[in-house]
Symmetry: C2
Subunit: 192 residues, 2 copies
Amino acid sequence: MIRPIANERITEAEVDAIFTDRWSPRAFDDRPLTEDQVAALFEAARWAPSCFNEQPWLFRYAINKKDRSRFAEALVDKNREWAQHAPMLLFVLARKKFIQTGKANRHAMFDAGSAWMSLALQARRLGLYAHAMAGFSVEKAAEVMGVSLEDYEVMAAVVVGRRGDPSMLADDLAAAEKPNGRKSLAEMVKEG
Amino acid sequence: MIRPIANERITEAEVDAIFTDRWSPRAFDDRPLTEDQVAALFEAARWAPSCFNEQPWLFRYAINKKDRSRFAEALVDKNREWAQHAPMLLFVLARKKFIQTGKANRHAMFDAGSAWMSLALQARRLGLYAHAMAGFSVEKAAEVMGVSLEDYEVMAAVVVGRRGDPSMLADDLAAAEKPNGRKSLAEMVKEG
């Protein structure tokens, strides 16, 4: 049974609910995404801003069983355990050099983060959730995708899907299956 | 006169309009932001996800004339020319090390990008626009803020405000004052 989770996040200022409504569950339903859903996720990412409009992000995704198993090999065991049930697993990459000049792009990771955030917010608009993970082997991820780490940083592994029944999770993860908190505004913003 | 700009962006998939509605103008009206608007911008950024919920972003902002002039010293001349009219100028920083462990955080810039994207989208919800710039001196920015580049990466300078009359811009910038395009989905997404 999937209980709607009361979102108890408390904001310090009035803000669009899309931001507090986004969180990172671990229990995912295994029903596949539609083609339209998949396209909409990346379409949102596509319009993110970037330095010189370079669009240094690259998304590699797995939706069929074979690709998902292959991609999942790069995850740490603790993440693979729950993430393998989600209908989509993807990696967010950042291209390290500008295509035109070949020079290092110090904004590549930052801009890839903007594109990822757009994807995560669009997921909620579709009734889906996206959960990004740092717990994966960068080398293994590069290997399963066949990309060179000289060209790309592999920034995050992400699963996307509908929320599933938390009872499928190990007890410690089931207990943590709810939106988490944040530092105060005063700790992240300063005037002057 | 501020003409509403017809957004001619063409999407390949149906997506929430908030993503295509966001773009980066250069003509800004100089009317100040309200306290509620300022708080809402950062509140949106606050709820971005991050590796280990580290929240490695830091926002330093200038809204009074003195701070804005000081911050604007870090911009390249070509950006300062138009950006100085906006009622808010800020820098987005990424904390390089995890607070708890002191270890390098390879996700800091990526996560700061997520927080920045949330701010940019919330700006539109408030009827405002946010324009991020890479054209600034990192060293000068660190100096005017009094932060150490050993601790922080200064990722972007950002102005926020209402759209202004494009006739205030130099001719080449006035001609470019409209939403720009993107690569095709096929160039940024690959299955498998």
